[in-house]
């Protein structure tokens, strides 16, 4: 071989080894990248599951706390735990048919049982009186709406803000004759209007210390009369149009 060929051969050998080491380097990098990505995918999946779990834990805790608070309010006035459950379900049905989104309706279902939380601050002697209230006692009893609002209004949580509205406005009436502020029509928040109907429907249908349970027929009669007086007419219409759903809840959660 002549020198030039030997030189060329050497150059080719050099190129070959450079090429090989570059390929080796690239292969190593690619393998490492692949490993890094696979591992990070796996980690992300685990973290994601953990987050879901924590989120559920958080939501469950919130639901439980709120439900318990509602039950405390009810138990002070010797009402049954199922009252809270039924009012919750009725409120959601009304909310959905009224046009609220599923999320908001679900939240109202959770918040509405707190409507009577203010009763924890009303004396037993009044709460459990098995007879008609004197005007002074009635005034004292009425305070539970504002008391409940005061308890909840400071919260930054949407659900508790919602519950504050419900507590404050669930005794307002469509025609402006309710309490504590005498708001009328759409001045009353939809959450308040919904809970008012749900609460009254259930309260009338249950035994209380001061009265026996009404029959559904008697309640329907009252609702027809109170359409546009005590209650938002649109909600009364929704109630009658979807009566089967309300009766189903009444059956499922009977005392």
């Amino acid at each position: 071989m002549i020198d030039s060929e030997l030189k060329l051969l050497q150059e080719i050998e050099d190129l070959k080894s450079q090429f090989n080491s570059t390929i080796d380097g690239l292969t190593k990098d690619l393998k490492r990248n692949y490993k890094t990505i696979s591992r990070s995918d796996k980690t992300q999946r685990r973290e994601f599951l953990k987050l879901l779990e924590l989120n559920k834990e958080l939501e469950d805790t919130q639901k439980e706390v709120i439900f318990t608070m509602g039950s405390i309010g009810e138990s002070r006035s010797k009402e049954t735990g199922n009252h809270v459950k039924r009012v919750a379900q009725y409120s959601k049905i009304l909310a959905l048919h009224y046009g609220l989104e599923e999320d908001e309706a679900e939240m109202l279902k959770q918040a509405s049982p707190m409507h009577d939380i203010g009763k924890v601050a009303v004396p037993d002697s009044i709460l459990n009186k098995p007879a008609r209230f004197t005007p002074e006692e009635f005034k004292e009893m009425q305070k539970h709406a504002e008391l409940g609002y005061d308890m909840l209004k400071h919260s930054e949580r949407f659900l508790l803000k919602m519950a504050a509205i419900v507590a404050y406005e669930h005794h307002e009436k469509w025609d402006g004759t309710g309490y504590p502020r005498g708001l009328k029509e759409e001045e009353i928040h939809i959450y308040g209007r919904i809970t008012a109907l749900a609460d009254v429907f259930d309260a009338l249908g249950s035994d209380r210390v001061y009265k026996k349970a009404w029959s559904n027929e008697k309640i329907y009669q009252l609702f027809k009369e109170e359409r546009g007086k005590h209650f938002d007419p649109k909600l009364v219409d929704i109630f009658f149009e979807n009566l089967d759903q309300f009766l189903e809840v009444q059956k499922t959660f009977k005392d």
Partner: protein, 124 residues
């Protein structure tokens, strides 16, 4: 050569490099905004340290979380001990919490990739 002492933050681990004791410890979570920038002082100190032949070093790693770019850093970091070794006796201890599968598997992966290093994967 000066010791290195970087405090832990929410997104970055603590780094303690004690030159006299030949001990380097990295502890915590590693999700720096700029990973290369964050580990630059460590890589520079280490390179300098490894230039002294016949040295030895123990590296204790107690990472609890690291992102993808930190994974790239770790490869470069371990590469340094292989490629710029200069006869230094290197022991790497990868500690993980017993319940932390992520860090256990990561440690085993690195152990497998760097079979030329004395790489121990240990429960804390």
């Amino acid at each position: 050569m000066e010791n290195l002492n970087i405090e832990q933050t929410k997104f970055t681990p603590s780094i303690v490099f004690d030159i006299q004791k030949c001990l380097l410890e990295i502890k915590g979570d590693s999700l720096p905004e700029n990973t290369t920038e964050f580990y630059k002082p460590l890589m520079e100190s280490l390179l300098q340290f490894l230039q002294t032949p016949q040295n030895n070093i123990t590296v204790n790693l107690e990472l609890t979380y690291f992102n993808s770019s930190s994974s790239k850093f770790l490869y470069d970091f371990f590469d340094l001990f292989v490629e710029k070794n200069n006869g230094t006796d290197v022991v790497i201890n990868w500690f993980y919490d017993e319940e932390d599968e992520n860090m256990e598997e990561a440690g085993e992966d690195f152990q497998e990739d760097f079979e030329d290093l004395k790489f121990n994967v240990l429960v804390k």
